[in-house]
């Protein structure tokens, strides 16, 4: 009896293999690759193996020996021939600004020459080679495994002697951006809750015909392309847009006093709130529909005012929906990219836009990966705290 049952179960389980494969290829593997990239950067180490080997014996403060100069110059020349010097120089430059031009200039200045003293020749090409910091930068860039992307992602750095220090205030950008992202997500969640709760209540307690109509009004925008909705907000909110025109027309503001509603934080907040609102309304609606309207009647028959009934009887029963909706909106906002990119301007950017910048513009994938991992850990941490506070099993998404 047990054997055929077991094999039937196995066959049924086998049907999920395509999904397992799909998730493995499209989710687990990229995620793993990102994790690896955030701590593993072998390019410089592969490009300058002999230089790095000789730097291991170096004390880190004195000017390196002639041998080391020669080794470095030889490897520079080789890389230049292979047209790889630029990318290596870029990586070193991230640790010590100016090093990219230093390295390219030096390679050009040395040319095919075979000087008596490599040291003099290189220092002549750029005096910075006479200082320890240039060599330190090369050595650090050559570490195959490194936590510096994580340090950078939280605005820390290592000084010359390897101690962890804070970045100078004017270069601290990631932590403030991360906190701004968390703050914006919190504000959006709260606004969505305030706007969505009464709507969900209305839909859950309306007659079936009206409730379907209202639900449709929630869902139609939800089904509309994200890009269309975001660009519509630009049309509405821009300087010569519908909202400003209307305000000018009814005389609230003068023509010169048009308010900047888009390409800033206001644009990001307005557009994201509108886009994420259904994610709040739908879980709330699902929970509210399961609450019998008789409970409020019962409360009033027991002597409670509407407010007392709401606070003590209705609201506590909607908490699973409040929790589900808020968590959903919050997590979606933390990782939101397209809307802030389009309507956020300079001040309305979020952490995802910075990650995208490092992926596409600066090509510092290691830093992008580290920021991504920090974001992921942040969300997981919030989820755990939340689970401790609310209890995930009480949450209902639908």
């Amino acid at each position: 009896m047990a054997r055929p049952l077991r094999s039937a179960r196995l066959r049924a389980a086998a049907l999920t293999l395509p999904l397992v494969f799909f998730v493995g290829v499209t989710f687990i593997a990229p995620l793993g690759s990102i994790l690896v990239r955030s701590i593993h950067e072998p390019q410089v180490a592969d490009a300058l193996p002999q230089t790095l080997a000789s730097l291991e014996a170096w004390d880190g403060t004195s000017v390196p020996s002639e041998d080391m100069f020669r080794t470095l110059a030889t490897e520079f020349r080789l890389l230049d021939e292979q047209r790889k010097l630029g990318s290596v120089a870029t990586r070193v430059n991230r640790l010590e600004s100016g090093m990219r031009s230093t390295m390219l200039d030096t390679a050009r200045a040395l040319g095919d020459a075979d000087p008596d003293s490599w040291r003099d020749a290189m220092i002549a090409a750029d005096p910075v080679w006479g200082e320890a910091k240039a060599w330190l930068a090369v050595r650090r860039a050559g570490e195959r495994f490194t936590l510096r992307h994580y340090l950078n992602a939280i605005d820390l750095d290592r000084d010359a002697s390897g101690n962890i220090v804070a970045q100078p205030p004017d270069r601290r950008i990631y932590l403030p951006l991360l906190f701004r992202t968390l703050g914006v997500s919190l504000v959006i969640s709260v606004i969505c809750l305030i706007l969505g709760y009464p709507v969900a209540y209305l839909i859950a307690n309306a007659s079936p015909a009206r409730s379907n109509l209202l639900l449709l009004l929630v869902l139609v925008p939800f089904w509309t392309s994200l890009l269309v909705r975001t660009t519509s907000w630009i049309v509405l909110l821009q300087n010569q847009g519908v909202v400003n025109d209307l305000l000018v027309a009814i005389g609230v503001i003068g023509d010169e006093g048009r308010i900047a509603l888009v390409y800033n934080m206001v644009g990001t907040l307005v557009a994201m709130t509108q886009i994420l609102l259904p994610f709040m309304i739908l879980p709330l609606y699902a929970v509210m529909r399961s609450i019998s309207p008789v409970h409020l009647r019962a409360a009033s028959s027991l002597g409670a005012t509407f407010r007392q009934g709401f606070v003590h009887v209705y609201w506590p029963q909607t908490l699973p929906g409040v929790a589900a909706g808020s968590l959903l909106v919050f997590i979606l906002s933390i990782g939101y990219y397209i809307t802030p990119a389009l309507v956020g301007g300079r001040t309305g950017q979020l952490i995802s836009n910075m990650i995208a910048y490092h992926m596409q513009e600066s090509l510092n994938w290691g830093l992008a990966a580290a920021l991504g991992v920090i974001l992921l850990l942040g969300v997981m941490l919030l989820y755990l705290v939340y689970n401790r506070l609310v209890g995930i099993e009480r949450m209902r998404l639908s």
Binding site: S300, S301, G303, Q317
Partner: protein, 375 residues
């Protein structure tokens, strides 16, 4: 409907209710409930009984007419100020609160001090025999226990009037019968007035001091269970309360309180429930257990018929005859002689006493009881 002696607690005067402006859910209703009474609104679903209860509780507003409690109109009184305990159909216990918190809720919103409240909660749980379950949540209780909690919650703030809307509908048969006794006991111990809604006529008969039978938004009869059973005034009541054989005919003569009604099989003699005159059409109601098998000459109403069908129930047999125009005339005979004393296809003589046969004269055109066949 004599309300002599006792004080009126609740009064409906000319109350009507419509939701859509066309269909009257309740029509021109007059009712009086006495203090301390167990008053049941009985009727099939859609007959308006629950609407009446909801109007009394204050959740629905009458379209016309007036409801008063203790002689004062409650027209403008919101439910929370009526001080009525309500037991809802599916109990409406607050699922996120323990039993104790459920019971504390009405006391807290009334500002009863906590120590005093604790005593009352204990007392209420004692009344429903659920001591020690304060810390359970409703979903950890059985259906019967939830029912008791709902009753305790409706009693804990010591109302003098308790409304119950089909409170036993969700329970199985055994539990339902047990709870019928319980509710009756609690009502009598506390002396509260209970207005109870049910569609189960046995439940209504077992529990009530008086019953109002609802049909299509109107009250057909208000009376104690025995009167309702023995002296139904309308055909709907006669057929809704217990089993009744209904025969249709025309009154041919009336003399000394007895009327003669012509049916397809001959004259039936019966007591009319109200004044009637020859020529009027009428329904006749005869209880199946009051019909006997006997030799001719025993009963004043006697007929001969063939037994179409016999059902063996256990303590009695149900015979189906085609008699006086009713093809489903039922005769219930006690199982004294044993199964096999009568057989299908036998021609038997059946009869019943005049006192066991009630004639319900039609009200005339458009009357409330004109529902029988042949009209």
């Amino acid at each position: 409907m004599a309300d002599t002696g006792t004080e009126t607690h609740i009064e409906f005067r000319g109350v009507s209710k419509t939701y859509d402006g066309r269909t009257m859910v309740v029509q021109n209703l007059d009712l009086r409930v006495r203090r301390g009474e167990f008053f049941t609104l009985l009727g099939p679903s859609g007959s308006g009984k629950t609407t009446c209860l909801m109007m009394l509780a204050g959740f629905e507003v009458p379209t016309a007419g007036e409801i008063s409690i203790n002689g004062r109109s409650v027209q403008n009184l919101p439910p929370r100020k009526r001080g009525i305990g309500v037991v809802f159909q599916n109990y409406a216990l607050f699922p996120h609160m323990t039993v104790g918190r459920n019971l504390a809720f009405p006391l807290e919103v009334r500002g009863v001090p906590a120590e005093q409240g604790a005593g009352r909660i204990r007392q209420a749980l004692e009344i429903v025999r659920l001591e020690g379950l304060e810390d359970r949540r409703p979903d950890e209780l059985s259906g019967g226990q939830q029912q008791r909690v709902a009753i305790a919650r409706a009693l804990v703030f010591q109302p003098t009037l308790v409304l119950m809307d089909e409170p036993l509908g969700a329970l199985d048969r055994r539990l339902r019968e047990e709870m019928q006794f319980e509710i009756r006991r609690i009502q009598q111990d506390l002396g509260v007035t209970v207005v109870y809604v049910t569609h189960d006529q046995q439940e209504a008969m077992a529990m009530s001091s008086r019953v109002a039978v609802f049909h299509r938004g109107q009250v057909q009869q208000v009376a104690g269970p025995e009167i309702l059973y023995e002296e139904p005034e309308r055909e709907f009541v006669a057929s809704f309360i217990g089993d009744n054989n209904i025969l249709r005919g025309r009154i041919s003569a009336v003399s000394r309180g007895v009327c003669e009604v012509e049916t397809p099989d001959g004259i039936v003699r019966a007591f009319p429930v109200r004044e009637c005159r020859p020529g009027q059409s009428a329904s006749l109601a005869i209880r199946p257990e009051r019909v006997g098998l006997a030799k001719p000459g025993v009963f004043s109403n006697e007929f001969e018929a063939r037994i179409d069908d016999i059902l063996f129930i256990g303590d009695h047999l149900r015979l189906r005859l085609n008699l006086c125009g009713n093809p489903n005339f039922i005769v219930k005979i006690p199982n004294i002689v044993g199964h096999g004393a009568v057989l299908e296809g036998d021609r038997v003589s059946v009869g019943w006493a005049v006192t066991d046969c009630r004639a319900l004269p039609d009200d005339g055109p458009g009357g409330g009881s004109g529902e029988g066949p042949g009209e």
